[in-house]
Every structure is written in structure tokens, then in C-alpha cells.
């Protein structure tokens, strides 16, 4: 079958030096920004995001236009913060976009900021992305010199300041209110909601937090029209998406596709299929926080609603594929250890739940497990979700719960077994 891969955000990557503003402009870059500030006006940009039904590409899939519409008209300053704190296990799309096409991200941020009437936009870049941070810093300097950032953008009355803020190693800062606390120079602990950031965000003012990929699609929606985006993929979950595929496939990588392709197409036609002689056991469709899907789900449409209906989630659009060499006890342990490590510790179910599941799985792996550990794991899976301030706690059990249900024998086989390897 033909490859469903399209090139929108990924166009030119690997061929052109899109870090150079001149090269980016040759591909039509910054034309939409200029058009927006000179001709269209903010409402038209907002209408484009709403009309295209652009849903957030960072994890929650919330409609971007609606998120913007929550901002109150109270005369207070407004902020746009671009979330580039990509750390969801299995996700590496923003990493690529940041390093390869920084101007596309800047143009998206500028358009979003213009749409909501923001005077100071921020991009929060994950601390580990040292290269990406330096690349973005150079790109912003180029854009500033070209008159796209600062006072009187493109010769209009519109002023916008732009600040790059680098994190320092904390997954939880990808959660929008944790991110805002971190940006304010505090511990990156999520806030109680409501109030949501649209009402009370950065410095207590109305704020929108959008993912890198979400904002990067804005110039193309303006360029190609709302219909172009809205008509790709399913009606309620339209458009294009960069999917990060890793794990046991021949060609792991980022593949941009219209939503609505099947999981099987993504694995076989994009990522080259499984390694030779291996059989498929499962796939995590939306990053470390999503429940595993199995053989019977392979022909499902890859879109927000279908994947949610199947009991998992599209999340950040990161697929991790498992073949029959997978030790799901080891795999679960690696993931749970991550959540235990990254819990900010505010909520007891998340802080304690993650730690204790991690300890129980480690004990199984060490050959010190007992039969009742399996029951403990099952019951723990029901005691965390929905009881925490943010979604991190809710992300601990879906993968474990799904693979424990499907591959319980693998877990039981560890009981009383000598530890084999490291």
C-alpha cells in the first residue's frame, strides 16, 4: 500500500537548511505573518484556528480556537506560552521541529500571539535541549533583525516581545500550570484548576499555553485555507499530525500523516514494519501515558476520538511498537519508574502510588516477588487515576493495567524466578 506520509511541517527537513531565515522565507516563510498583521487582523487568525478545528498536538487534543476564546476581555495583559518541554516517553517530534525548523515555530507563535492580542510571548524549551535552545536563540535573533519581533512588526503598529526560557530537567513542567510556575521561577508544581490559565495564568494574567506542533500548523492553515486542514482526516479530529514511531520497527522516526490513517499503515507503510521474523504483540499509541493497544486494534483509525474510544489515547502522537521479544514486566518497570521519579509529590496517590508500584515491579524483576504481588499491582491500578491535581498521576497505570491484563502470564512467570540479567 502507498505511504500515507505528507509533508507540511516536515517539508524540506533533511534537504534544506531551514534554520537560515533566508531559506525559510524562500519556502514562503513569514508571508502569512505579514499578511495577518497587515491585512487579515487578529479575528481572522482566530477564526482560522477555530474553522480548521485545530486540536492541540501536545497531548490533550483540546480545540485551539476554543482555548483562545476562553480569554476574558478584561483589559489585562495576555500571554502566549509555547510549550516545548517535550518529555513524554516515546515522543520526539518537537525535538526535531525545534532543531530543524525553528522559524516555522516562531511564525506560529507570532501568529498565535497576534490572534489573542498578546504583547509578550514565551517559548519554554526543555532543559536537555541545549542544541535546540541555541538554534532557537539564533533564529529569534534573525527574526528580530528582520523586523518580525519587537516594535512595529512588519511596519505595523503591532509590538511583540519574545523570550526563550530554558527549563532545567522536570517532566512535570510540560503540564501547563507546572510550566507556568517554572516560568515564574518557582518549583514546577501544577496548580489547582480552576482557575484555568486562560483566566489566571502567567503572573496571574490570562494566558494561553499551546504546543509547538499546534502553533507550527497555523501558517499553513492560513496559507492553504481552513478547508485544506479541516477536510483531511475525520470530521471531529481533522488535519495532519507528526507521529513519532519507535520501538521494534525497521525504520523508527517521525512521520507526518493525515489523521485517520490506520495504526497498521503507520507501522507497516511508514515505519517499515516489524523487524524480520518477529510478531506483533502491542503498541502504545500516544506516549508513555497511554494504554497499550493490541492486534485487534491495528485497523483502527488513528485519530483523537477513535483511539480514546478504544480505551487509550492519541496523546502526543507517539507510538512505541512491541514485538514478541518484549518483556512487559521490564517495560512496565521502566515506565513506572519514570512516573515515580517525575511525580512532583504534591498529591499522595501519585507520589506514593508510583513509588510503591515501582518497588513491587522491581521486586518481581529481582526474583523476590510473591504471588500476591500480581493482585497488589492490579488493585494499585485502580487507586491512582482521577485522584490527583494533574494528569501525571493518571498516567501511571494505563500502560501497566493494559499489559497486565493481556500478558499476566509474563508477570506471574517472574514470581519465584531467579533474576536473569542486569
Amino acid at each position: 500500500m502507498a505511504s500515507p506520509v505528507v509533508e507540511v511541517l516536515t517539508k524540506g527537513i533533511g534537504e534544506l537548511n531551514l534554520r537560515d531565515i533566508a531559506v525559510y522565507r524562500e519556502t514562503g516563510g513569514y508571508v502569512q505573518l505579514e499578511r495577518a498583521v497587515k491585512e487579515l487582523g487578529p479575528q481572522a487568525v482566530m477564526d482560522a484556528a477555530t474553522g480548521a478545528n485545530l486540536r492541540g498536538r501536545g497531548g490533550a487534543g483540546f480545540p485551539t480556537g476554543r482555548k483562545w476564546s476562553f480569554l476574558p476581555n478584561n483589559g489585562r495583559p495576555r500571554y502566549l506560552v509555547c510549550n516545548c518541554d517535550e518529555a513524554e516517553p516515546g515522543t520526539f517530534k518537537d525535538h526535531m521541529l525545534l532543531e530543524q525548523t525553528p522559524h516555522q515555530i516562531i511564525e506560529g507563535i507570532l501568529l498565535g500571539a497576534f490572534a489573542i492580542g498578546c504583547k509578550h510571548a514565551y517559548i519554554y524549551i526543555r532543559g536537555e535541549f541545549q542544541d535546540g535552545f541555541e538554534i532557537m536563540r539564533d533564529a529569534v535573533a534573525q527574526a528580530r533583525a528582520a523586523g518580525y519581533i519587537g516594535k512595529g512588526i512588519c511596519g505595523t503598529e503591532y509590538d511583540l516581545e519574545f523570550t526563550i526560557h530554558r527549563g532545567a530537567g522536570a517532566y512535570i513542567c510540560g503540564e501547563e500550570t507546572g510550566l507556568l510556575n517554572s516560568l515564574e521561577g518557582k518549583r514546577g508544581e501544577p496548580r489547582l484548576k480552576p482557575p484555568f490559565p486562560a483566566i489566571k495564568g502567567l503572573y496571574g494574567e490570562p494566558t494561553v499555553v499551546n504546543n509547538v506542533e499546534t502553533l507550527a500548523y497555523l501558517p499553513y492553515i492560513l496559507r492553504n485555507g481552513v478547508e485544506w486542514f479541516a477536510q483531511a482526516g475525520p470530521e471531529r479530529s481533522p488535519g495532519y499530525k507528526v507521529v513519532s514511531i519507535s520501538g521494534h520497527v525497521k525504520k523508527p522516526g517521525n512521520y507526518e500523516v493525515p489523521l485517520g490513517v490506520t495504526i497498521r499503515q503507520l507501522i507497516d507503510d511508514c515505519a517499515g514494519g516489524l523487524r524480520d521474523g518477529r510478531t506483533f504483540l502491542g503498541v502504545q499509541p500516544g506516549g508513555g501515558s497511554s494504554a497499550c493497544l493490541f492486534e485487534e486494534h491495528l485497523d483502527l483509525s488513528y485519530d483523537f476520538d477513535t483511539i480514546a474510544k478504544a480505551g487509550s489515547m492519541l496523546g502526543s502522537g507517539a507510538m512505541v511498537v512491541f514485538d514478541d521479544t518484549t518483556d512487559f514486566v521490564r517495560a512496565s518497570h521502566a515506565l513506572i519508574r519514570f512516573y515515580a521519579h517525575e511525580s512532583c509529590g504534591q498529591c499522595t496517590p501519585c507520589r506514593e502510588g508510583g513509588q510503591w508500584i515501582e518497588k513491587t515491579l522491581a521486586r518481581l524483576l529481582d526474583g523476590r516477588g510473591v504471588e500476591s504481588d500480581i493482585e497488589v499491582l492490579k488493585s494499585a491500578c485502580h487507586g491512582i487515576t482521577g485522584l490527583n491535581l494533574c494528569a501525571l498521576g493518571d498516567s501511571i497505570e494505563p500502560f501497566l493495567g493494559s499489559v497486565l491484563d493481556r500478558f499476566e502470564a509474563q508477570f506471574r512467570a517472574y514470581v519465584g524466578r531467579e533474576r536473569v540479567a542486569s
Binding site: 517535550e86 532543559g127 530537567g169 480552576p194 512532583c344
Partner: protein, 266 residues
């Protein structure tokens, strides 16, 4: 009682009013002060410059030293404890000196199912140290970290925050040899103090009894306590302008009071 780690003896000793406490740090402070002012001016609220300033000092000292924390607290007019509690949240701030090469190997899902266990075992064997430890010669620090967002090229790692992909034992041999010979393609970190066994402050907080793991004497060198209260009082007494400013903040800026209206807590 365990000896304090290298670097911890300077707890909050630095203050621009106390000249001569650490000439090397004073020189660094003078050098970085303009850049700190730029960072402070970048944000609507000066506290947002806290993390960028810590990055700046760490880039020059190789770790986020107690002096750096004090200098940040001084410049942002925050209690040292507030700066310390913030910095301690973030894993990329090394609170004690580290090796010239910080080796951070991914231990998350996509790497684990693609052979990261063997890579980590190989590193441990070759270096003779474990997770969160530094070699005796001060050359290598080793940490097993969470997903680095490079899963398509697993197993992966960072060396001083520069990505290295598709790791194999042969690559590790070459990498370590090049680092030992001083000809590796990633710049070594600055090393202004000799590292100890680990850079985690948890090691400073030895259990007092069987059950009291993690509870430390706050007045121990390297413990969570410090002279911030003393320094603050001293400044309130001696610096009228500072006292007026800090009082004004406490009264008029509820944002700075952790328990009330802190960005939406009810």
C-alpha cells in the same frame, strides 16, 4: 559522622557586603552581573530570571554552587531558602561539583526495549561507578536519566547535554578513550572544585536512626538549612532601602507569599 562533601563548606558565605569571603567567586559575580541584569530585565517579574541565572552560574562553575545560590537570592531579593527550594526541584542543576563529562544515559521505555540495559551495564563496568556517581579522577559523572526525546535512535544519551545516538559498546570504548585523551568532540565542563562521590545533596543527609531516613540536621554543612535568615536579618537591619522594598513586597504582592493566592491555589 560523614565528612561534608567538597563544595558544601561555602554554604551561603557569599555576600557582596562581606568582601573577601571568596575572591574567585567575587570575580565571577562581577563578570556575570551585567548578564544577570539583562536576564532580570527580560521578564515582567524578576523571579522568572531565577532558573536562567542558575544556568548561567552553572555554565561557569560546572555546578550550581552555594555561592551561586546566595548570589541569585541577593540579586532577586529572595530568601536563600526560596532559591534553594526552587533549584532543588530541577535535576539539571548539580548542587555539588561533578566530573568533566556528565554522561546521561536514557533508561526509559524505547531505549530499554532496544538494548539500553546492556549499554548501562557496560558503562557501569567500564567506569567502575554506578548511577549518580563520579569517578575518583573527577573525569566522569554517570547518571541514568529519563526519556531524552530521541527514541528513534535508541539507545541514546547526552554528554554534557549534547546528544549521542545509536549507542554500542564499541562507541562507548571510543568515546571514553577520546575523553581520557582530551580529544572528544564535546567540550568538557568547567571544574572549579574537585567533585566528591556524588553531586546529590541527599548524601549529606545521613539517617540519624533506623526510621529517620532523609531527615537532616538543618544546620549541618550541606544540610537544607543555611544562614539565609541571619543574612536577611542583617540586611534588614543595615540596609533600609532593602528592608522597605521587602516589606512592601510581602504586603502588596501576595504572589510572593506561598500560602495565599499563589497563582490560583484556593
Amino acid at each position: 559522622m560523614k565528612a561534608a562533601q567538597p563544595g558544601s563548606e561555602l554554604i551561603a558565605s557569599w555576600d557582596p557586603h562581606v568582601a573577601g569571603s571568596d575572591p574567585a567567586f567575587e570575580a565571577l559575580y562581577a563578570k556575570l552581573r551585567p548578564e544577570c541584569l539583562t536576564l532580570i530585565g527580560t521578564y515582567e517579574d524578576s523571579r522568572s530570571a531565577l532558573i536562567p541565572m542558575a544556568h548561567l552560574f552553572q555554565e561557569h562553575e560546572g555546578f550550581t554552587s552555594p555561592n551561586a545560590l546566595a548570589a541569585i537570592a541577593y540579586q532577586l531579593e529572595l530568601p536563600l531558602a526560596v532559591v534553594e527550594s526552587t533549584i532543588s526541584f530541577y535535576t539539571l542543576f548539580y548542587r555539588r561539583p561533578v566530573g568533566r563529562y556528565m554522561l546521561q544515559v536514557c533508561r526509559n521505555l524505547s531505549c530499554i526495549i532496544n538494548g539500553a540495559d546492556a549499554i548501562m551495564a557496560y558503562f557501569r563496568e567500564q567506569l567502575g561507578i554506578g548511577h549518580l556517581q563520579t569517578t575518583d579522577d573527577g573525569l566522569f559523572s554517570y547518571e541514568e536519566v529519563e526519556c531524552l526525546a530521541a527514541c528513534d535512535r535508541a539507545p541514546c544519551m547526552q554528554v554534557n547535554l549534547r546528544f549521542k545516538y545509536d549507542l554500542t559498546p564499541a562507541m562507548i570504548d571510543d568515546m571514553l578513550a577520546a575523553m581520557r585523551a582530551g580529544r572528544y568532540d564535546v567540550k568538557p565542563l568547567p571544574q572549579t572544585k574537585a567533585p566528591g562521590r556524588t553531586w546529590k545533596v541527599d548524601e549529606d543527609t545521613q539517617p540519624k536512626s533506623g526510621g529517620a531516613v532523609g531527615v537532616s540536621n538543618p544546620n549541618n554543612a550541606g544540610g537544607i538549612g543555611d544562614r539565609s535568615g541571619v543574612i536577611m536579618l542583617d540586611r534588614v537591619v543595615n540596609d533600609a532601602a532593602f528592608a522597605a522594598r521587602s516589606n512592601e513586597r510581602l504586603v502588596h504582592e501576595p504572589k510572593l507569599r506561598p500560602a495565599s493566592g499563589d497563582g490560583g491555589h484556593h
